[in-house]
């Protein structure tokens, strides 16, 4: 068992336990912190898979921007206390059972697939240079369309947030 396997299993256990922490902790702030830890574990997996650019982008965009936005909203609404009322037990059990059933069914379907081993030799397709070349030649049209998506999302968020103020004022 080499260093690669040890890092893989460590990151796997960290990702799964922190993901369980997200859905099981009562305090929303703890959920956000667990989710940030999960994203760091997933970024570690990206580095193991030679996707260095995506690992950095995952940390900057997800752990840096999106999760801070979540934390801001939670603290803005003052939800850090446990305000969630006790839910119907039946719905919780039904949710857990249906999620677990999905896991079991897909696991059983994929269990006998042929084993393909990923070689641990480092490739350079995940570097910024190669990804940028692909992005700006082959995928340049989706890239430009995503800028329109961002603009519309920005305008939409501002409009949704502003309309309420005008009504209350």
């Amino acid at each position: 068992m080499g260093v690669y396997e040890i890092i893989f299993w460590f990151l796997t256990v960290m990702a799964l336990s922190c993901a369980l922490g997200v859905i099981l902790s009562r305090n929303p702030v703890n959920s956000v912190l667990f989710l940030i830890a999960t994203f760091f574990a997933i970024s570690g997996h990206y580095i193991l898979l030679n996707a260095q650019f995506l690992a950095i982008v995952n940390i900057i965009v997800y752990a840096g921007a999106i999760m801070v936005l979540f934390l801001f909203v939670i603290m803005l609404m003052n939800l850090n206390a446990d305000t969630e009322p006790q839910k119907n037990r039946l719905v919780q059990i039904a949710g857990a059972i249906s999620g677990g059933t999905l896991l079991l069914v897909i696991l059983a379907a994929l269990r006998t697939s042929t084993i393909t081993t990923l070689d641990q030799t480092s490739t350079d397709i995940g570097l910024i240079k190669n990804l940028g070349k692909t992005l700006f030649t082959q995928f340049v049209l989706p890239f430009e369309i995503s800028s329109v998506l961002f603009l519309s999302a920005m305008i939409g968020a501002v409009v949704i947030g502003k309309k309420e103020k005008e009504q209350t004022a």
């Binding site: 396997e5 859905i23 999960t38 999106i66 961002f150």
Partner: protein, 99 residues
């Protein structure tokens, strides 16, 4: 490392996210579980990109992140607006889509 391990890991992460989205009532936590499911798919995409030695899957992951960022901006704006109206983020109160 067999690619199946990554397949099972991302499957487990996806199912945990789905369980959370069904079990929890707090709209923000449901939203975070959706992010977790998106990340599980991203991890699988990167594993397949390594398997086929093709960078198109990593570009696809990049676009998923872009769409997720836009989705979070609009979704959190909607949650904040709902909270101003009904003073709660409980999805059982929000399910009527009116106040």
């Amino acid at each position: 490392m067999p690619v199946q391990y990554y397949l099972f890991l991302s499957l487990a992460l996806f199912c945990i996210g789905m369980m959370g989205a069904m079990m929890r009532r707090n709209a923000i936590i449901v939203f975070m579980c959706i992010e977790l499911m998106l990340n599980a798919v991203n991890l699988l995409m990167v594993a397949f990109s390594k398997m086929y030695n093709d960078s198109a899957a990593q570009i696809f992951v990049f676009f998923i992140m872009v769409v997720a960022a836009a989705e979070v901006a609009v979704g959190l704006a909607i949650i904040v607006m709902m909270y101003r109206k009904v003073h709660s983020v409980d999805i059982n109160i929000l399910n009527r889509l009116k106040h």
